[in-house]
Amino acid sequence: MEFLSYLISGISLGSVYAIIALGYTMVYGIAKMLNFAHGDVIMVGGYISLLSMSSLGLPWPLAVILAMLVCTVLGVVIEGLAYKPLRSAPSLAVLITAIGVSYFLQNAALLLWGASPKAYTPIIAGSVKLFEGQLSISYVSILTVFMCIVIMIALTLFTGKTRMGKAMRACSEDKAAAQLMGINVNRTISMTFAIGSALAAIAGVLLCSSYTSLMPTTGSMPGIKAFTAAVFGGIGSIPGALLGGVLLGIIESLAKAYISTQLANSIVFAVLIITLLVRPAGLLGKYVPEKV
C-alpha cells in the first residue's frame, strides 16, 4: 500500500515534469534551441495565479486562464526580443541568452514579489481515500494526471491533424523548404513559444498546488528536471516528453522513499547519464547517423 502511494505521487510529479518537458521539447524541435528560461515562466505562472486568487479574488479557473494568458504573452515577447534577433547566430549565443533571460526573470520576480516564500493554497483541497483510508490520493494529484493526459491528446491531435501543427512539423524538418512553400517560419516559432508558455503556466499552478509554496527560484529545479525528462525521453518527441517525465517522477519518488531523500536528485541524474550512454538520442528519440 505504501508502495502504491509513492508510485501515485511519482506519477503525479512526473505528469508535471511531462507538461514542462513538452515546452522544452517543442521549442527544441522547431527552433533547435534550449530555452532555459522555460522553468522561470512556470514560476511567473505560479505568481500570477496566486496573486489573481489572493489579491484580485478571482476563482481558480479564471486565475489559471489569466496565468496562461500572461505567460503566453511573456513567452512570445521573450522569443521576439531575445531569441528572434539571434536566429542566424551560433547556437551557443542563443544558449547564453536563454540563461540570461532565466536570471532576468528570477531577479525581476525577486524585485516584484520579494525573496520570502509565499504560501500557495492548492486550487483544489482534499483527497480521496481508498482501501478503508489506507491509501489517500489528493485531488491535486488526480487533476495533475488528468490535465497531463488531456494536454497530450490535444497536442498530438494538433501536431498530427491541423494545418498549423503540420506547419510546425515541417519547420522542424526543413525551415528553408517550409518557407519556400509559403509557411511563415517566424510566426510558427512564435506560436510554438506561445503554446509552450501556456503549458508552463498550467504546470506552474499544478506544481505550486502540490508543493504549496512559491518563491522566485521555484521554477529552476523543476525546469532542469523537466529538461532532463525531455532528453531522457528523446528531445523533440512529444510522446518522449510524456514517457520521460512520468518515468523521472516515479524514479524520484521511489528513490526518495526507499533509498535516500538527499540522494534522490543524484539518482535522477545518474539515470539520465546511464540512459544517454546506452541510447544517445533518448528513449524514443531517433538517432540518425549523418550520411557521408
Partner: protein, 284 residues
Amino acid sequence: MARLKSKNDSPLVPMPSDAYIPQRDLGKTPVLEARHLGIDFGGLTAVDDFNLTIGRTEIAGLIGPNGAGKTTVFNLLTKVYQPTRGTIMVDGYDTKGMSTVQVNKLGVARTFQNIRLFNNLSVEDNVKLGMHNQIKYGMVGGILRLPSYWKQERIAHERALELLSIFDMQDMAGAKAGSLPYGAQRRLEIVRALGTNPSLLLLDEPAAGMNPSETAELMENIIKIRDTFQIAIMLIEHDMNLVMGICEGICVLNFGKVIAKGTPDEIQSNPVVIEAYLGKQKEA
C-alpha cells in the same frame, strides 16, 4: 497585397530589348521579368546583369555548365538570397524587399536539386503543406474540431488527391514521403510546389537521376501541367533531350552571366554555347 506596387508606377530601368516570349503570351503581363539582376558573395560576383522575361504560359530553360550560377538564379527569384543589384518583377509587381513567403504568395514555387521533402510526414500532408496558405481555419477551430476545420480539411484533402493524380500518385497518399522511391519523391516535390497555386513553377533539375523512360514521362507531365494549370514553368536541367524537347525559350548561363538566349534551334547552333560546354575549338 496593399504594399505591392502596381506595374504602372515603378520607375524601373527599361528591359533590354532582347526579351523573348512566345507569340501567344505577347500582350499579357509577363509572369517574370528579371532586370539587371546580380548578387555578390563577399568579393565574388555569382550572378551579374541577368535579364530574363518569361511569358504567362511559357516553358523556359536555364542551362549552363556546372557552377554557372543557375541555382543561384533560382535562389534569387525565390528570395532565398536578396539580390545585390537589379529588379525582379513577378506578375508585374516589384518584389523589392519581399521575403520568400511573400514571393511564394505572389505565385513563385519551386523544387530542389537535392530533394527536400518533409520525410516524416505523409505524401498527402506534404501536398497540404504546399497548400498551407489556402487552408483557412484558426488554431481554436483546429483543436476543437469545429465545422470550419472539417470543411477546410475536406476541401484540402480532395484538392491534394486531385494534384497527386496528375502523376498517378493518389494511391500513395498515406505513405511517408521519405519511404517513396526516388522518382516518386521527385514527382511529389513538383506536386507539393503546385499545391502553393503558383503562376511560375521553378524546377531545379527535375530529371536528375531518372532513366530515359522516366524522363520521357516527365516531359509529357511538364507539358500537361502547363496546359492544365496555364502556368509558366522554368527549369534547370542538364538533360539536353528534355531541354531541347520541351523548352520554348532557353537562357544559357556561364560564370554568372547570360551568354546566349533564344529558341532551342538557335541555342544548339550558337558557337558561344558550344564553346562554353565543350571548350574552344582548336584552329586547324
